[in-house]
Symmetry: C2
Subunit: 406 residues, 2 copies
């Protein structure tokens, strides 16, 4: 059994870096706070006897040697970056659960056949640098290294520049080495486990996502003397599209999600008709075909709204992450562990994207979910119980050790 109190305390300590008044965390990727969080993790891993490697995307691997250290490692991990209004658990739990597995192995003086690594993946959230999971994507060969390093935030700063600035532009090549398996523990970030009073989610799949960037351009003009008939109001166009995005999500129930999360108005002055609006669309569905239908519907409505209002449109799908089936053997190890510990559990599809989604392309992969309070995540109120987090970590421990010794 892992040490519940130690795991909880590590989460609380990490949560102080970027901790907000409301009890959440704001630690955006590759900021000074992200560096502080990384430094703390690296120190903890060194204290636990691990060797540290950092790759060119800033991904960190803390290794506990195996009895046969030439075997590919079993890797655990997730991310330390958060949303602007993030919590203490999203991502951080998967990283520190990995560390807790290593600490527990140390406590018990237990060796594993294959080496074991706890990992941190850079910029999983995609909030500062879209898209999400970009560094695990480079690791898995989904994106080129140059693409990853050139992702820019809204101020034009790139991941490459910011990695160098905080000193996490490591020497290692990104990817190209085998994992015996990859396991990621995570809070569910949705309401299903809590609603059904299950302690463990055995994640069989992750839904697909499409992300878009849309810019509508009309003409800024005076809000007073410009007759309604002469306007080309980019915000009216965006408003209609936001409502349509919502309707597309509702039309593909029960499984679709559709969100406009980010929007910027130009020039953003009360008495000026908006001349330009930039906004994003996030579509999700577990079924690739349904997701393609949503895509089609969005393109049609975007064309007709922009034409009707005389707006120019730049429309780009900037990211497609297809639905992911996880590895049956690894999933079975997770299910077996939950059963062995006597934890209530159910199979579940991940609503969020995770580094595990990309790593699954190059390694047998599975995930362990635990409930979070009210299903709320990407919110400072995000919460989970020490008991559930410990249960998930025990499942992770058993699955990882079984795999490493197999």
């Amino acid at each position: 059994m892992i040490n519940q109190q130690r795991l909880w305390q590590s989460l609380m300590d990490m949560g102080e870096i970027g901790g907000t008044e409301k009890g959440g965390v704001c630690r955006l990727a590759l900021t000074d706070l992200d560096k502080q969080g990384r430094d703390l993790f690296v120190q903890w891993c060194k204290d636990a006897g691990c060797t540290i490697r950092v790759d060119k995307m800033g991904n960190i691997f803390a290794r506990r040697a195996g009895l046969d250290d030439s075997l590919p490692p079993v890797v655990m991990g997730s991310h330390l970056d958060t949303q602007p209004t993030g919590g203490k658990f999203d991502g951080i739990y998967g990283v520190l659960a990995g560390l807790e597995v290593i600490r527990t192995l140390n406590d018990q003086g237990m060796d594993t056949q294959a080496p074991i690594e706890a990992s941190v993946w850079t910029n999983e959230e995609g909030s500062r640098f879209p898209p999400a999971m970009v560094a695990s994507g480079v690791f898995a060969g989904v994106f080129e290294l140059d693409y990853g390093l050139s992702r820019a935030d809204l101020d034009g700063k790139t991941m490459g520049e910011e990695l160098a600035r905080i000193g996490y532009n490591g020497p290692d090549d990104v990817g190209g080495r085998p994992f015996k398996a990859f396991f990621e523990a995570h809070i569910e970030q949705g309401p299903i486990l809590e609603d059904e009073k299950k302690q463990i989610g055995v994640v069989t799949d992750a839904q697909g996502q499409r992300w878009y960037e849309i810019t509508l351009t009309g003409q800024e003009s005076h809000a007073g003397p410009t007759p309604m008939s002469r306007r080309r109001d980019a915000l009216v166009g965006a408003a209609r599209l936001i409502d349509q995005v919502n309707k597309i999500g509702l039309a593909h129930q029960p499984n679709a999600c559709a969100t406009v999360g980010l929007l910027q108005v130009f020039p953003n002055s009360r008495n000026v008709i908006p001349g330009q609006v930039f906004f994003t669309v996030d579509f999700r569905h577990p079924d690739a075909e349904a997701l393609a239908k949503m895509d089609q519907a969005l393109r049609e409505t975007a064309d007709s709204v922009s034409t009707e209002l005389g707006l120019e449109m730049a429309f780009e799908q900037i990211w497609y992450s297809p639905p992911v089936p996880f590895d049956a053997d690894c999933v079975a190890l997770v299910r077996q562990a939950a059963t062995d510990f006597g934890y209530s559990h159910r199979d579940i599809v991940s609503g969020a994207g995770h580094d595990a989604c990309y790593i699954s392309r190059v390694a047998p992969t599975a995930m362990v979910f635990v409930p979070c309070e009210n299903g709320i995540s990407h919110n400072e109120a995000e919460n989970a119980t020490p008991e559930d987090l410990a249960a998930g970590c025990n499942v992770l421990f058993q699955a990882v050790v079984a795999r490493a010794n197999s």
Copy 2:
């Protein structure tokens, strides 16, 4: 006849302060650039022999003595602040046309019975510090001085602080002295004069305005695992209201205008359901009753949309500027001057608010409009011809001198 070339050159010189690549001007109220513009105007006025006074709201009055200097002055003027994407003419023309009238009187060695003043009113645009026309409003007794000085920008800086910072917190009381008349020259900012090929607009009235601030609060949550049925998406609510605002404007044609110009999303991250949205509404109509009906419609739709989506709403009308009829005698002087010069002209209702609207409460007031290219204003492409600007300034000259000698 005024000096067309000198007037144009002064406009171009002033337009360099805050000049943008696209040929517009960004010189927001009480910024360093606004100070530079004010300093230049003050220097020009001193060179023209004027005495300068500044009041506690930063309004500037440059005075040319009258033969009987104890008489109330005839005052001309407008504003030097611009929109973020503003032009060289909106406001600035009214200020520099006033200066040009004084320069022309000097050239001709002409005296007037009453003194004549060229004025600059602080923060007319209301873009940085809402509402618009706040300093002329204090002058006219519509707002308390404390209200004026405490208006804050989105960063929380107040007009009082910023006036002190740039050294334009003058010693004079605001208002409380009589004007023999007030005349404001301005570009039309709409398409009517250009469409009808008229060189001068004789402004008889200004339409009323209502400005609102609305904050919708839902709950930020993860865009992936949060089912559509559990969302309280503040941006979906804002989108529906923006569309309704537009529909309310269309329902009150031909005269209504309805605009959402400013909107801010929180936390503004691609994969987070927006938890809060702040936006503004700008309603205009020449008829107070129609404007009240638009207000009623907005309140009803805002209530029903927020209730339907489970959003909390803070709804505030932050400004009401009723429709303004200008002074019949002053308007007649403008019409007479246009006729005497042989300029094509028509009566017109102002679509924008102007400092003249508030000054009309404490002094006989009128306005002179000239056409602007494509009716475009609050846009860097704002433009007007030297000839039309000179025609408007000649009309201003004749009306002012006639009034000052009457």
